[in-house]
Symmetry: C2
Amino acid sequence: MSQNKEITIYDIAKSLNISPATVSRGLKDHPAINKDTKKKIIDAAQKMGYRHNTFASNLRRQRTNILGVIVPRLNSSFTSDVIAGMEKTANEAGFNLVISQSLETMKKEVANANTMFNNRVDGLLVSLAYDTTDIQHLENFINKNIPVIFFDRVYDHEKCPSIKIDNYKAAYEITAHLISQGCKKIAHITGNQLRNVYQDRFNGYKQALADHAIPLNEKHVFINDLSGKAGAETAEKILYMNDRPDGVFSANDTCAINCMQVLMKNGISIPQDIAFAGFNNDPTSTIIEPNLTSVNYKGFEMGEVAARILIGHLNNNYDLQLTHTLMLRHELIMRDSSLRK
Amino acid sequence: MSQNKEITIYDIAKSLNISPATVSRGLKDHPAINKDTKKKIIDAAQKMGYRHNTFASNLRRQRTNILGVIVPRLNSSFTSDVIAGMEKTANEAGFNLVISQSLETMKKEVANANTMFNNRVDGLLVSLAYDTTDIQHLENFINKNIPVIFFDRVYDHEKCPSIKIDNYKAAYEITAHLISQGCKKIAHITGNQLRNVYQDRFNGYKQALADHAIPLNEKHVFINDLSGKAGAETAEKILYMNDRPDGVFSANDTCAINCMQVLMKNGISIPQDIAFAGFNNDPTSTIIEPNLTSVNYKGFEMGEVAARILIGHLNNNYDLQLTHTLMLRHELIMRDSSLRK
């Protein structure tokens, strides 16, 4: 038999000398077919290499059972946790994930969205690229009632629910904590203010300073791409400052840790000279010495929730409009990098 | 207009008062259609929400342009690098990735393989689960000439190429390095010996000992799941030993680092009392103090190569049989956790 010929229920029927209708029912576990016949049919199907035509049957149903996911980068600790949570939930519900990364550029995000549109994903889960200015590229989905859900780096759109944490509150708490440890000159390292996560954290930081009557020093605000390299460069800048900060709140852990490493190599004591806090609670935060104070933000759970809401909507159990913004819990974890007392 | 009605080339033709054939050609950038008409067609298509029926056209071509990926876990530093490399290469070549995780069980790996088979992926990229004993679940693909490529945790099968590093040689080098630093009692922490990566590393370790006339002490061989928790537990065992090792080679960095942390908290000096080496060169290896000696093993590159070979085969440029085993370069990176001199 040719290896490329597709086995059909007719081939199975012929080989067992029964009717194609019986084979079809047997494969679907229909109660009218007796157990022995079912077993014979399933064994023959297995042996002959029959595959259910999920693909064509989805086409008929106008459904692909594929969820599209667009993230900035796949290789970050937080993102890989999110994807793992999404995959687990989708897999259990019989959905597949098609995954793409924007590599932090709007241009690639637009191209990926178009590919997903043409491939007819049933829904889209998106965390925006660093420089995305608008979501024109998602209008096609929205106009067709293909659900789009934002997570982490979200966009305010009446038809698209968002899943995030309270970044403002978390940043407020972390800044207030540094103040409680005696810091009076707290620097902030953050990312592109187009993205809610960085803007909200910056605002929370500013409000905490204001509420404690500490003036904002613009020289102590560093906006960069929050990479490890940017953290090391920020440390070099801090070392050359006449008016050094006595605390640093970085909008992610990677940047915080690389900054700490350079400062410590240059004789700065942490937390005595400069207290440190990061964000995300990456596994690295308990490896650096002193361990890094951070905000725990459960990526795996965020992925599970995002996939669950999307699938629930597709299966008509949830109304997307009702859950407009879903705020997950965060938790401030205080460690030795900021605890002076 | 109903939001759910699919826009066809006939709708576009009608709205522009031109023939459907012209619309079809215009969308395909056919040279016979003039520039202005093309622009009109593309603008109308965009405005009306037309989507190319990639899905149906793939069905006709008996091709989905989807590559299936099965990995043990998505949330590991190494795996997320691999996936990022695969996505980049696939995306550039117009392929999509469907990704699933076995969560380290053969049972889930089997279920995922079946789903991918029914969804008609064009090819499969697989790294095996911890306890997979055979690849019966991939025979359907092999019998149908759907290419299956193994990476990292591979399986020896005449029809399936493997992409890996020389785990034996890398482990030999790392063990010989520990011996060169004066270690005479080197412990080894490893995983399930069903998996080539752990078996090969164990064999490399044993051969290096033998070549330096150091007898293998079975009490110094720890087989576990190589998690952080297992690393901490191994440290507890080492602390209670009368005959403690003076060097540890762990088959991954996570386990090594957690083991080091517990030992150091209990007063053990690294590398003076016990020298340490891991495997993978995770980002954490340069955060732990002392920095961890490790084997650099480029996940991103492995992902790129695996996807490139698979796509090359699908596009009939490569013969899979010819590249049976592809060995990528590794590199021993010596750091303070093992450098005594």
